[in-house]
Symmetry: D2
Subunit: 336 residues, 4 copies
């Protein structure tokens, strides 16, 4: 059960509500976000909801029976729309594309990418400055220096930035330069990081774990939400299975399941999914067809020279072709 | 290496070729199908292909280095088109839909389905009469009696039949009533069945194993082909992973990979894939978007009363809506 | 619910029981095996068991609530002991070892193996004459000729034979030469084969499917049992997972789970499990420690020259060392 | 290639070595640990090792070709023995048992556990004070207060403490009270945490990721090692597969593979592995049989009342029985 409080609830009314819940022996967990204040209640037994619902200061009481609470669409029927500023929206019914290189490498690289994005009407650029790498001897990213370079180029061009944060200690430093914090697959259950991002008033995109279940992804989102941040985006990026004919098993089944269970927007990452350049566009089109709210795509001027992930990165020309196909798709179904 | 023989090769020319191969110490495996005669050669060392290529009776010599030979598109560049008769084609660049119930139950059920298919321009009906069931105490299908009933209704209406065969002993009896033999996921590596189907001049659709790799699916197709039957269709139907939020992980990644490696048409089964009725249509649309040659869909007049698989079966109305969406998709991309 | 009938039940008594069950609206499925006659009942509602239990001709009535019936130890409390003849037992509390080559290759190979088995007190020899191979171009076994050679050598030395049968059509021909029929992982859900083996009065060892669940293995055993054959052995041989550092993930967890759920003996195949020669012995010892009733081990005079599976096959010396370790283990725990 | 420097190498000698490597165009990565100083070299081409080996200040030069360097036993032939102080060793050829509750709950609980451990000769106690939980609404541990309580009880009794650290920010605070830092499965690729633990001079036990490969576990260890800490322990705790008949698929195959590749000790966690109380002891015995250096076992005075993981926790009596079986096993193989 979720009790949604009125914004103008008084301290007295709140105290009265708490007393009432205590008397009814209902455990409750207070959640305060940018958008509202909630009590998440886990009563041990069924009880008459009217005993609480009539109290002053309460906006609504929602029955939410499943395992997930704040991320469930059992209480929030309308889909959440993430506002990244400057009319850049995610989850508003259109397909939002984020694109850019795996790793930020140089100013020239950023500028070339920004040009390509602008020509295709893309408003969000991806690019890693802290790279989680399986081997400690691989390239690890340009760090804060790279991020500032990234920020300067994008800000001048009205492009928003999504980039990965790897631990809570990095958040403060990165904050001024980031529009959307990305949590990578390897940190999908780094609960300390998730809670720290709950205290931030910026959108957070959570990637599904390397072999994370859909339930676990929703629980991870719940961690961020209950810590205070409603601006959440889910991301399907492929799971680990026995099949080795491609990089990961991009699980498009997850999209309708997540949309059925949650009010949060769902982005698909076909680049890390199938992980093979020549097949990325087809998986991207299928992602649109299956109902994704957006895509995150790796693109690079010269993929074969990219510092990381070149084998799954589209050239600018391939990226442009994909964008045109996506428009054909959107137009067809907008008019149908 | 595949040596493709001329149709009019003489016995003398063939013997001469064999002698030549023996002299060169090249192992060869003769394959005779409805469409041609081939020698599959696995030489231990590289050798001068011209020593064979000039011989009389040889149509062409193809280098095919990978593990798969006859099913590889390294020798057969054009996609295989399966002709089911009466202008019913699979793999001709259009999306071929097969639809019908999981199990054949009654004449009334068949007739109602046939009507629905005709209204939607569908020419191939699915329906099981031998059902592989995990539990021996579950409904096992109507057998030959059901198949004959199925055949009578379809023949009168110009509808082709696809149905599952479970062991080689059933083939002869089923033959007159079947247009496409289906091999189920549990029999994906039943090599005796595969070889027996190689001796049949009817199309065969092979489902990927329950956790079969893409390579294994191609090897299974190779079994049928080298036993004499080129009329092969591959089918992605979902794999077994750790995720339990749906029935199987429909692996749309497999479609572009299979199309990249093989000349055989690829069908997707979203019903057995995601296995949840309300999500089947979205997965079907994504299957079209990812490049499938066709779909196999479970539909039933009253899914909630179906003998088997009702939870993943579309009602006729839902099926019609899906067919319309597929047309929107095909039209958009045909004109683009 | 399982109703176990008396051996001496009269036709009249049986008819009376059937009438009574019909009157009570209880579906029942008759099972006749070498050891007894049973009615498996699946009543739709709970009912008073005494309404049936007092009837003449009934030996016992067992409540068996789970999915599996005849293979469950809810009705058969004592473990099943398989008698292969000549005092060769499986499931009698001692560790039964079966060993031999992957494939039967020649008389010399068989004789050498027989010698090695005799020196180590092993009474059951394995060896494939029909080999299921992923690629159609691999060695497929010597067939019936190999089996007869195998039989002649073993019979003279008091050694029992276990070998794989691949389809129902092979059973009759193989019957005189086989002591235990093995069903391979790829045929774990070949239900036609399982039912055909239900009509045979010889022990059958069922391997777990390539990614078969424990439940599915028990269902496959149920297929054989309800078709008339109680002489069943289960075999864990490794499952398919994401891990590629070895051949299969030998799942020793399955052993205690199977022993908890079923009365059937459980054999472990560490050779196909981990699939790496130098680690087979350690996995074998762990299999004994986890409670397996026996082991099936690949051994060959010259593993590096074996026609198949040489990489996981023990030399005779390695096999002897393993047998000695197993004896140390058994002695330690017999006296503890 | 690993160049191991002499402890008494002078600054001049070191500089000279660096110059020589630069001249030979050999990339090198310096590693300084508690036990030694190393240069990890990744030359692009093969070169004459003697051009480096003769220089002053070099103890040894090792060819290590695989992906893993410092954790590989290609350069360090003898197994690493971890000294936890007070003669508590891990990896010395004997089976080291760590045991205790999943979560630290109270002083009474700790004291009761300490008593049980002492009676069974166990010198290391496990117990979580920071608990990673899938749901944010589950019990999260007693934190630092619990850890101090834990420390006081153990120190008085000569018991060492192993407990989980969840992020780098916690290390400093926990340091005085911890003997072995444990990294949980969900943080197996939290590279920031791993590097922070590299700067600590205390043993670190790394659990394999929820679906981590063996290679990834070794890479994670490499992260800690190259950051300066050689006191590393690996832990197999079960992987995620399709099978749901138990909690995780405890992968005993991983033990011989890890021992083959690395010089680090390997601990098995059968409690989190199979996750079912009545089967933990059998899996523990199998772990000993397969060559593990130790076990980590959950035990509790009253498992049914444990705050977390009660379903897989042994009672003290069950734990004692297991310890006796392990002694039988060790005795048998010590004398064999």
């Amino acid at each position: 059960m979720i009790i949604q409080l009125k914004k103008e609830i008084t301290a007295d009314e709140k105290q009265h509500l708490e007393q009432q819940l205590n008397q009814l022996h209902i455990n409750f967990y207070p959640v305060v976000t940018q958008r509202g204040t909630y009590f998440i209640c886990t009563p041990k037994e069924a009880f008459d909801i009217r005993k609480v619902g009539h109290l002053n200061g309460i906006l609504d009481v929602h029955r939410v029976k499943g395992k997930h609470k704040m991320v469930s669409n059992k209480w929030k029927v309308n889909n959440t729309v993430i506002d990244c500023g400057d009319d850049v929206l995610i989850g508003d019914g259109k397909l939002t594309v984020m694109a850019g290189p795996c790793s930020i490498e140089s100013e020239a690289q950023i500028n070339a990418t920004v040009e390509s994005l602008k020509q295709n009407g893309v408003r969000i650029m991806r690019g890693g400055v802290y790279k989680p790498r399986t081997s400690p001897y691989s390239f690890r990213g340009l760090g804060m220096e790279g991020l500032k370079m990234f920020y300067n180029a994008c800000q001048q061009n009205g492009i928003k930035i999504i980039t990965e944060v790897m631990e809570s200690g990095q958040i403060e430093e990165m904050m001024p330069y980031v529009d959307i914090f990305q949590v990578g697959a390897r940190n999908a259950q780094n609960f300390n990081l998730l809670e720290a991002l709950g205290e931030v008033d910026k959108p957070v995109m959570l990637k599904r774990g390397i072999s994370g279940t859909i339930d676990e992804l929703l629980y991870s989102a719940e961690y961020v939400f209950k810590s205070g941040n409603e601006k959440l985006i889910l991301c399907e990026r492929g799971i680990r299975t026995f099949e080795n004919a491609y990089r990961n098993t991009l699980d498009l089944n997850a999209v309708p399941i997540l949309k059925e269970k949650s009010h949060l927007p769902v982005i698909v990452d076909p680049s890390h999914g199938i992980g093979i350049r020549k097949h990325v566009a087809q998986m991207a089109l299928a992602s649109a067809a299956v109902g994704a709210d957006g895509l995150i795509i790796e693109t690079h001027k010269t993929p074969e020279k990219a510092a990381t992930d070149g084998q799954q990165t589209l050239s600018f020309r391939e990226f442009e072709e994909l964008m045109q196909k996506l428009k054909v798709f959107e137009t067809a179904f907008a008019s149908s």
